[in-house]
Amino acid sequence: MPYVAPSTIDEACDFLRSNPGSRVFAGATDILPQSKAGRRLPEFLVDLKRIPRLTGLNVDDKLWRIGASTPAAHLTRDSRLSGEFPGLVEAAGLIGSDQIQTRASLGGNLCNASPAADTGPSLVVNEFSAVIASPEGERTVPVTAITTGPGQTSLTNDEFIVEFLADRPAAGTSDAYQRFTPRTEMDIAVVGAGARVSVGPTGEVTNADLVLGAVAPTTVPIVGISDALVGRSLDEPGLERAADLAKEQIEPISDKRGTRDFRIHIAGVLTKRVLRTAAERAGAES
């Protein structure tokens, strides 16, 4: 199967436009097993890892930029990123295994569009946006606009994600990601939960967001979490309320990885745990 590795964004765009049967990839950690499982391969595989802007991490006074093809192992090794987005880094550190993480990327994890993708909830809860390259030029969209269903994205065949952007978190804000799997690694989330919590100077919650994965065709931002927690220190009644909100707003399926009822139960458990962890990181009293 033909393989091309463009070294610039323009070169990649030109190739994709003139070869509509192409498919871009980064770490190939999903494409390779899919091809072995008999899924039809594209005419050309286009490797995006050779384009400098797509690999690497950058931070300035305001903004984080994460190249879409940067291996997860680079994220988990970056102490600045771990300090500011510990939850996103936790999620990246749960993809597959150590070996897989030397290849797997945020862009690939998002565009493979598995409802159970580990980094999805963290990207969404931290309000990352994605810079998309296409033959028409670049545009920036919220990450929630990328995945539209299992295996489905809003990107056309000649588009790809260049990098992810997010504001640096303010003081007193942090995030967390937790998932439930029967095994410690080499497994796929039964439920994944990303949370971001901000706390005020006296330790009271000033904002809280929660996004769940593997409980619907795409990640589910849970509505009303801030209302449940803001203005109070982190207490059990508030967390119970948050868990109830989560359980009410998800539509999980039953499959070999978990029944609907079990997923709803676990979503409630993880909601409380992940919000507590994020709040503690942000400086809340536990």
Binding site: P182, R183, T184, M186, D187, V190, D255, R257, F262, V269
Partner: protein, 754 residues
């Protein structure tokens, strides 16, 4: 004989096959390539139960590159004939019908045709083009469905009770004494019911074969198996060939655990090669491995045990139904024999049913059947200990079999080390360590017979004083290293000067499978015997050189020594160097049926922590004590002990075949068939107990299998310790644990044993 009297045995020598395995140079089943080789594929049934109305191969044959297509019509129809094959019984007609369906398909994945072509693409296209017309029947996927009164019947000739055909292939019954009286003497009687799901052996290497059949009608086969003689003999039987027409060359084997003691692809590859005149290679994909090979049985089991208030077991009743998959032959018979074997119980009643269902035919899996029985019996014993407020090890110790005990399956035990394993665990620091919240500790024991069977060895001494040790036992647990150590001990030379090899079916005498924990014991016995003959020969040659009598020559530390010290010693290398003058080449062969098998016992303790919110069970600490008789190579004894435990942990916690309503396995991949990964496990601590087997020159007992027997119950008992909830249905996966913790119904009594 104490272990200190050995110079080589008991050393942790470097395994001779290690370097090739870690560098990737070792050749496994799929690593063989021959010029002109074709790709062979299997066309498999998409239905769990159907009659084959017709197969039209015309379109498949018309595809460019297709060189041969075979169906059941190309195989001889053979009649029912049961024979021992390794340690299990094989019915050659069933075997033939399993490798290629004839008339009926009995599970999704059942082969209906095989195709050889010049490329994978051509073979796959031909498989798509093959036209098979099926008449679909209802199917059954577990023992309950199969034994229902209105169940569809898989085979028209299974009727163990006489009368209408059923799905019960065989009823094993063992009654001794009077259980009614026994239970009447008991102060506590506990009866419980258990279920387990089918599990796969999970070997990392898929089945793979290359066959090259010549114009002379002879075929050479390269494949990975637990016994290339078994492959030769079963393949010959299925093809209706004389055995000497087949030469099977053993590849390295990437795990078997019992699952590679039967054949699947080999007769297809041989026949495709014969039809095409080209070598044919066939390699299963992982989903083929799951859907068409292996599994161990699923089951429903009831156990009732009574004991006096001071902890003496008075009687036991056991009823077990095991699924056999599509053809008879589940290991329920072995389960009946092992389920109560660690204990002295006179009044017993044990019934086992072998039940056919529409899934792949079950294959041997490490101590076949025993873990399922032990899961039930050791769980009930734990409840009895709890009811009597006794330490669970004390209860077991009080009833433990020892030398002279009459076993629950008949024979009287010779010297065994069961009590020593109980003592080892009770005295281990693990047993006294404190537990935290949500943590619990469980113990359980296990028994396995071990096997003897036939083995051969050829030993050659080379002119430079090095030696070759040839056997026919595929090395799946480090047995090359053990063979070298035992040969070194007899010959008195360093094991690094001995090269152990596993050779093909034309190059050594018949050897049974690497199974039944028998290789170090039985093949080792052949090596010891052949080396002993060599030593006799060397003594004779030394006597010739010295002009002395052989009786005047002693063999010590690799040297011939004159009994009166009148001559300087002659080393093995010196004698070998002048072999041409003393009678020519030095070699010896031993072929034997190994008698004096020593059974194996294991006692294990496990600590778990249960997450009460998610049901996740974390194995915190695990210690296993096992009687090895004599550990020839302690590292590989420990490896076997640990490997058995790890497979038991997987079986206990997450592994299961999940079938949808249509009979299709939903999780035929390692992602969703959840075997434990390294990070799920603590280091498995081992205590090797050595109570020498009087039936072996060095006291060896088999060690490969018994380690998988106790974990299912040890973990269930530990979960009970952590949560006060008893789980009796495997796997004890998070959803099941959450359900059990939230259920008020725990503790319900099972229905009476029938």
């Amino acid at each position: 004989m104490t272990s200190t009297s050995f110079k080589h045995i008991g050393q942790r020598s470097i395994r001779p096959d290690g370097l090739d395995k870690v560098t990737g140079k070792a050749r496994f089943g799929a690593d063989y390539y021959l010029p002109g080789m074709l790709v062979g594929v299997v066309v498999r049934s998409p239905h769990p139960h159907a009659t084959i109305k017709s197969i039209d191969t015309t379109a498949a044959r018309a595809i460019s590159g297709v060189k041969a297509v075979i169906t059941a019509q190309d195989f001889p129809e053979i009649s029912h004939e049961e024979a021992m094959s390794g340690e299990s019984v094989v019915d050659f007609r069933d075997l033939s019908h399993n490798v290629m369906a004839r008339d009926k398909v009995l599970y999704i994945g059942h082969p209906v045709a095989a195709i050889a072509a010049t490329s994978q693409q051509a073979a796959d296209a031909a498989a798509q083009a093959l036209q098979v017309v099926y008449e679909i029947h209802p199917h059954v996927l577990n023992v309950d469905e199969a034994m229902a009164s209105d169940a569809p019947i898989l085979h028209s000739d299974l009727d163990p009770d006489g009368g209408e055909p059923t799905n019960i292939a065989k009823r094993h019954v063992f009654n001794r004494g009077d259980t009614k009286q026994g239970f009447a003497r008991a102060d506590v009687v506990i009866e419980r019911e258990f279920t387990t799901k089918q599990v796969h052996q999970g070997y990392i290497e898929p089945h793979a074969v290359v066959a090259d059949t010549g114009e002379d009608g002879r075929s050479v086969v390269w494949c990975s198996s637990q016994g290339h003689f078994l492959v030769r003999d079963q393949t010959a039987k299925v093809l209706g060939w004389e055995r000497s027409r087949l030469k099977v060359i053993p590849a390295e084997i990437g795990g078997g655990f019992g699952g590679k003691t039967t054949i699947y692809l080999e007769p297809l590859a041989v026949l495709l090669s014969a039809k095409s005149g080209r070598p044919v290679k066939m390699v299963m994909s992982r989903d083929e491995v799951f859907m068409a090979t292996g599994p161990g049985p699923g089951s429903r089991v009831r156990v009732k045990i009574g004991a006096t208030s001071d902890g003496k077991i008075t009687a036991a009743e056991v009823w077990m139904a095991f699924d056999a998959g599509a053809f008879k032959g589940s290991p329920v018979g072995a389960a009946c024999q092992t389920v109560l074997a660690p204990y002295e119980i006179h009044d017993v009643s044990i019934t086992g049913l072998d039940v056919v269902i529409n899934t792949p035919k079950v294959a041997a899996y490490r101590a076949p059947g025993a873990p399922i029985g032990a899961f039930a019996a050791e769980s009930v014993l734990d409840e009895i200990a709890e009811a009597l407020s006794m330490d669970p090890i004390d209860l077991r110790y009080q009833n433990a079999v020892e030398e002279g005990s009459e076993s629950t399956y008949g024979p009287t035990f010779k010297l065994i080390g069961f009590k020593e394993t109980l003592e080892a665990i009770k005295e281990h620091p693990h047993y006294k360590a404190t537990l935290g919240p949500n943590q619990g500790r469980g113990v359980a024991c296990g028994f396995w017979f071990n096997a003897g069977l036939g083995s051969s060895a050829t030993v050659s001494i080379h002119e430079d004083g090095t030696a070759s040790v040839l056997t026919g036992s595929p090395d799946i647990g480090g047995s090359r290293a053990s063979m070298a150590l035992m040969a070194a001990e007899v010959l008195g030379i360093d094991e690094t000067r001995i090269r152990p090899s596993i050779v093909d079916t034309d190059s050594i005498g018949f050897t049974d499978v690497t199974g039944g924990s028998r290789v170090t014991f039985a093949t080792g016995m052949a090596v010891i015997e052949a080396c002993g003959e060599i030593v006799e020969d060397l003594r004779g040659r030394a006597a010739m050189i010295w002009g002395a009598e052989p009786d005047d020559v002693e063999w010590q530390s690799g040297q011939a020594q004159h009994s009166d010290g009148s001559k300087p010693p002659l080393s093995l290398a010196e004698i070998a160097g002048s072999a041409a003058k003393t009678g020519g080449p030095i070699a010896a062969t031993a072929s034997l049926t190994a008698r004096g098998v020593g059974p194996a016992f294991s006692t294990q303790v496990c600590d778990v922590e249960v997450d009460p919110d998610t049901g996740l069970v974390d194995i915190l600490r695990y210690t296993t004590a096992q009687d090895a008789g004599r550990a020839i190579h302690p590292s590989y004894v420990e490896g076997q002990m640990q490997g058995g435990v790890v497979q038991g942990i997987g079986w206990a916690l997450n592994e299961e075949y999940v079938y949808d309503d249509s009979g299709r396995m939903e999780n035929p991949m390692f992602l969703d068939y959840r075997m434990p990964v390294a990070s799920d496990l603590p280091m498995i601590d081992t205590v090797i107990v050595e109570v020498p087997n009087p039936g072996h020159p060095y006291g060896v007992r088999g060690v490969g299998e018994v380690g998988i027997v106790p974990p299912l119950a040890a973990i269930a008992n530990a979960i009970n310790g952590a949560t006060d909830v008893r789980l009796r249905d495997l796997p004890m996966s998070p959803p099941r644990v959450v359900d059990a913790l939230s259920s008020e119904l725990n503790g319900a009594t099972g229905t009476p044993a029938g």
